[in-house]
């Protein structure tokens, strides 16, 4: 039992369970699942479907944060991939043909993959602060997306494309399977290869890693490229959901949601050891939180206040822990700090 409690994801998981329990008590309908035409419906099912874009983005954000970085451009990248994909479909004579769909999705995510690699170049090679490096695409990305759609919100009619976010497979939403696939792939790549451990080493102690011969440049570059790729897929899902490329709304403010999910899942913003399981729990926690807030009758544009409050609480609670890892990260000496107590001489 003790080992269970000490496990990294115990507290995040417990928090999620508690949140779900509160919801179940407040509105019993929360837990109900109905079956219609072989498809499952209900609040929990909606949760699984709606969390997919955030899940993808948060997975990428986890890897980037593990390298002591951050990726602010993810929201803008969602807008870009949606814009690219929908433009291809809209201008095609056969918007429902599988080749067109494949081309659209492929082009969309390749563009954001390149954008992610660009971010990686700025950070890993030029040594620019991650916040600033990714801020540039955060700024310009939506503008680029708008240009691609000629300043309009492109809409398309394409059943196969719509299927991605609204369709069902084996009774569950297709989007949920996309989430699962992403999680599985990321876990396999990080844990089946040595990439996970090397990424953690780079984040925990970049200098020791360098002296040990780790190729940190490539690892950091790859992290940002992966983040771009995943954001691209998230953008495809989002545009599939509304069947439109809305460059201003796509991925709006998703950056903080993703960062919060990562932090809630137990990964430190200082980099180092990361937990995919924790991020997954974090994503579900945020989605449940949002659902709860909406249920409480709070208009959705006001939800950011609650998210801000949650971040403040998490940050304040983690602060002594943050301080511990901050010392580990070799910060500057603060005035009169002591490893012993600051007791006065007798």
């Amino acid at each position: 039992m003790k080992k269970l409690v000490k496990h990294r994801v115990f507290w995040p998981a417990a928090a999620l369970v508690a949140l779900l329990a509160v919801n179940a008590i407040a509105r019993p309908a929360f837990l109900s699942i109905t079956v219609q035409d072989g498809e499952l419906y209900g609040s929990l099912i909606s949760l699984l479907r709606n969390s997919a874009p955030l899940m993808l983005v948060a997975l990428g954000m986890t890897i980037v944060i593990a390298t002591r970085g951050i990726d602010l451009s993810v929201g803008a990248m969602m807008a870009v991939s949606g814009a690219v994909a929908l433009t291809i479909i809209a201008e095609s004579a056969t918007p429902e043909a599988p080749e067109v769909i494949a081309l659209a999705i492929g082009a969309g995510v390749i563009v954001t993959l390149i954008a992610g690699a660009w971010n990686g170049f700025l950070v890993a090679v030029l040594g620019i602060q991650p916040i600033i490096a990714t801020l540039v695409l955060m700024l310009a990305g939506r503008g680029i997306a708008l240009l691609i759609t000629n300043g309009e919100i492109t809409t398309v009619n394409s059943a196969p494309y719509k299927f991605m976010s609204q369709g069902y497979v084996l009774g569950f939403p297709f989007a949920f399977f996309v989430s699962i696939a992403a999680i599985v792939i990321v876990v396999l790549v990080q844990r089946r290869t040595a990439l996970g451990m090397l990424t953690e080493a780079v984040g925990i102690n970049p200098e020791a890693s360098r002296l040990a011969g780790v190729r940190s440049r490539g690892i950091i570059w790859g992290a940002y490229a992966a983040s771009g790729l995943l954001a691209g897929f998230a953008g495809i899902l989002y545009s599939s959901n509304i069947m439109a490329a809305d460059s201003n709304a796509a991925g709006n403010l998703i950056e903080l949601d993703a960062i919060l999910a990562v932090v809630l899942g137990g990964t430190s913003l200082m980099g180092g050891k990361f937990s995919i399981a924790g991020t997954v729990i974090g994503v579900f926690t945020i989605q449940t939180l949002k659902s709860t807030i909406v249920f409480l009758g709070v208009p959705s544009p006001v939800t950011p206040v609650f998210m801000a409050a949650v971040v403040i609480i998490v940050v304040v609670v983690q602060s002594p822990l943050l301080r511990g890892s901050a010392l580990r990260a070799v910060r500057s000496v603060r005035g009169a700090t002591n490893s012993n107590t600051t007791e006065v001489a007798k």
């Binding site: 080493a201 040990a212 002591n338 001489a345």
Partner: protein
């Protein structure tokens, strides 16, 4: 200037003890500083020098003992308290703001104001006045960044005089200065001393210490060894009081030093004229298969710097390296690792262990980094390697999944050693592998080094503990003040011989 015993001391520290978890950094240390003297504080790493300074500057609180400033007992809670008591410090990194002007740095926080707003003309005039009092003519409106470290230091010193400091602490001030800049600094120091300022000079450059100091205090392992008049202290005595002579029962290892090395072929590694401006004068070093070459010298003599250049941890400005007789380019750690050369840093915490990763992951890191990210060292392979090394080196607790930061220093060092040995190197550079670890672990590590070198591994062994170096190495490279001053055959040598060599080799006059 000989100390005038009729004048009261400006600083009196009595029975200072500071305890950190697991180690007593200072143990009942007494220290006295008189006005109008230059007093050097000396000791190796871990001696307690910087802890004593931090107690005096309000960074650390003391656990017991008293500090008296100008006759009044004082308790420093913050750095501001110490400054208010008239104690100023100039650090090695020159803690000023390089983005601001010279004059502003001198007067920062004390700018001349007129009606609430800063009067810049008057402020710069004041700054120039303070600089001139130290013999400095600098354009106060120029940016601090555009001046050399030497000038920046002097500016930092004149800032100390703005606040009428009675005590000036100079922490390793000459590390980045050339000869003429040191002269200029010493001129300023003498000027201040003659004005009655007490100057605490912390440095490991023996020659300079003897040149500028009136008195010298030596610390070792947190205890006071003694306070001496500089003119009356022979070099040999100073060095022996700083360096330890620990007794232990590793006599059987003396056979390591006596081992005969086959030097007929080409050396495994040959470094010629390897140097870096401001860090190390060009030095030569060669090492043969199965040989242990020791590097001896005091802290700051350039031992680590030489090792880092050989490994590619730092980039050399001059010189070349040959490996197995063929020219080799080693400018990054990867180059060295690809050639089976590995390096264990003296700063375990910052440059060695990856604290949050487990013992197993730390051990396997070297191999994994070499293989790249795609080819993961399998679970079975990891388990086998880790188990072998935990047993061979005696890592305690023998738990491969424990986070390395939770291990004691000695065991952390063993894990690092395991990491490097697991990569089957031809040459391993060990920088202070036995510093700050318990006696048992020290013995284990030395035994292992002797054993492996007898089997053909080449080792460059750096240590402040001279008897360790004598015991293990066949040849000893001796360094002082960032230069290699010579090489000794270690067979039959004893500690005093080496100390003598460090103190006197190349000296004009013997102290």
């Amino acid at each position: 200037m000989p100390v005038d015993n009729d004048v009261a001391p400006i600083i009196e520290m009595r029975g200072i003890t500071i305890q950190f978890p697991g180690v007593k950094a200072l143990d009942g240390v007494d220290f006295t500083l008189w006005p109008g003297e230059v007093h050097s504080l000396m000791g190796e790493n871990g001696a307690g020098k910087s802890t004593l300074i931090k107690a005096l500057t309000g960074v650390y609180a003391i656990d017991s003992g008293t500090i008296t400033v100008a006759g009044e007992p004082r308790i420093f809670h913050t750095t501001a308290d110490a400054q208010a008591a008239g104690i100023s410090t100039v650090y090695q990194e020159v803690n000023l703001c390089a983005n601001l002007s010279v004059g502003e740095n001198v007067m920062l926080g004390h700018e001349v104001r007129r009606g609430g707003a800063i009067d810049w003309r008057a402020t710069h005039r004041e700054a120039a006045r303070h600089l001139e009092a130290l013999g400095l003519t600098v354009d106060t409106r120029t940016g601090l960044f555009s001046h050399s470290i030497a000038i920046q230091q002097l500016i930092a010193i004149s800032r100390a005089m703005v606040t009428d400091s009675t005590v000036l602490i100079l922490d390793e001030p000459t590390s980045s200065l050339d000869r003429s800049e040191v002269e200029q600094l010493f001129g300023v120091i003498r000027e201040l001393r003659d004005r009655g300022v007490a100057i605490l000079f912390v440095s490991h450059f023996l020659d300079q210490v003897y040149e500028i100091s009136d008195r010298i205090t030596v610390l070792r392992n947190g205890k006071l060894v003694g306070a001496y008049e500089a003119a009356l202290l022979p070099r040999n005595e100073l060095i022996s009081s700083m360096i330890g002579r620990e007794l232990d029962d590793l006599a059987e290892l003396s056979s390591s030093a006596a081992r005969v090395i086959d030097r007929s072929g080409s050396p495994l590694l040959k470094a010629t004229g390897l140097g870096k401006k401001g860090v190390l004068e060009p030095a030569d070093l060669d090492i043969y298969e199965g040989e242990v070459v020791g590097i001896a010298g005091l802290l700051g003599s350039g031992r680590t710097e030489l090792a880092r250049l050989i490994y590619g941890a730092d980039r050399a400005d001059s010189g070349s390296i040959e490996v197995h007789g063929a020219s080799a380019r080693i400018s990054t750690p990867r180059h060295a690792i690809d050639r089976h050369i590995v390096f264990s840093s003296e700063d375990r915490r910052a440059e060695g262990i990856v604290g949050d990763l487990s013992v197993a992951e730390n051990i396997v890191l070297g191999i994994q980094a070499r293989r790249g990210w795609l080819r993961r060292v399998s679970r079975t392979e990891t388990d086998a390697i880790v188990k072998d090394y935990i047993e061979a080196l005696g890592v305690r607790p023998a738990d491969p999944d424990r986070a390395v930061r939770n291990l004691s220093g000695g065991n952390q060092q063993k894990v690092l050693l395991a990491r490097w040995l697991a990569t089957a190197p031809e040459l391993i550079i060990l920088d202070e592998p036995t510093r700050g670890i318990d006696v048992g672990a020290k013995a284990d590590i030395q035994r292992k080094v002797a054993e492996l070198s007898a089997k053909g591994l080449s080792v460059i062994f750096i240590s402040s503990e001279i008897e360790e170096v004598i015991r293990l190495a066949q040849r000893i490279t001796v360094m002082r003040d960032r230069r290699k001053i010579g090489e000794l055959e270690s067979n039959g040598l004893d500690v005093d011989d080496v100390i003598d060599y460090i103190a006197n080799e190349g000296q004009e006059n013997v102290a």
